[in-house]
Symmetry: C2
Subunit: 195 residues, 2 copies
């Protein structure tokens, strides 16, 4: 990973841009699991060239998704001052779901331990606790639960890419996140998961 980018040869700069573009597309299509050789081939360079610019495959991944995650966090913080806590929370969840359904690497980005995951976690936690205080979201859920849920549901959506099914799955999530009717327990006793 080159820190300075001022004294960079013209072809080096051009190749770096190409690699980032190709990585963006490849990661979005196939997630982090895409072979690095395919990224290199898409960029029209050799694998060695990729490693000249990015020390490791993960560094390249970080470089690609950082901008997108930062945007998400910014939107979450913007929504954090929203009047309606429930609307802000579910709106951000919808944004996250749309992003994750479109780009396969989003679920990897918010899951792999690192600064990105921490940022999303913190941003989500603010929205979540506000919504919970307002009574719009069930109080037992944590931000880590939500990230785990989102990640696994995004995987499910990617594994059978039916838009209608994706909407149904996310509807189950959003409805399940709402506070359960606190009045006389209508839950059947057999609905407990014994682990």
């Amino acid at each position: 990973m080159d820190a300075v980018d001022q004294p960079l040869r013209a072809d080096a700069r051009r190749n770096r841009e190409r690699i980032l573009l190709a990585a963006r597309d490849a990661f979005a299509e196939s997630g982090f699991a895409v072979p690095l050789d395919e990224i290199a081939a898409r960029a029209g360079v050799g694998p060695g060239t990729v490693y000249r610019h990015f020390a490791t495959k993960e560094a390249l991944f970080q470089a690609v998704v950082t901008a997108r995650v930062t945007n998400l966090v910014a939107e979450a913080q913007r929504l954090g001052s929203h009047a309606d806590p429930g609307g802000a929370f579910f709106g951000f969840l919808a944004r996250l779901g749309a992003e994750g359904a479109a780009k396969r690497d989003t679920s990897d980005a918010i899951t792999v331990p690192g600064p990105l995951k921490a940022e999303i976690h913190d941003a989500l936690e603010v929205l979540l606790s506000r919504a919970q205080t307002a009574g719009a979201v069930r109080p037992d859920i944590t931000a880590a639960d939500l990230i785990a849920l989102m990640k696994s549901l995004l995987v499910a959506v990617h594994e059978n890419p039916d838009p209608a099914r994706a909407e149904r799955i996310f509807a189950v999530l959003t409805d399940g996140l709402r506070p359960p009717p606190t009045s006389g327990r209508t839950r059947s006793p057999s609905s407990q998961m014994v682990i």
Copy 2:
């Protein structure tokens, strides 16, 4: 895969038993992804011996999980004649969740295309449609949706093995599966996932 098992040498029969035992534990702990060499090592045999008894790793997996899945299907069919459709459905879901949380290979068994997946799908469909007709489960969900949901949630549970979190996650699922309140829409408009 040897069809005849009558003329089987004593050590062969013993090793076959050992392999099945080791595979059962290894698959339960690590899912289908466990290296076959580890199964062989656990059984105290060489990898070649495993392949003498089972033509492929997947054949061994099928031999291990078939009994368990068959039991699940039998229980589903038994519950199918239950008086309370909702209770039967959520009870079976709880059973599936418990089984899947305890054994990591359950999610693989019900997901990999094959007869096991088809059996589970059909058994689940009966319970689901009865519960939907009774108004205990939201009507838009399909059996395939449920399998996808269960699989991904089980993966999430296995990735962070906190029993409390597992219960919370499954609570979100069961609550989200209940029919949404049909009365005046309390859903905020921003809760739609735009895909």
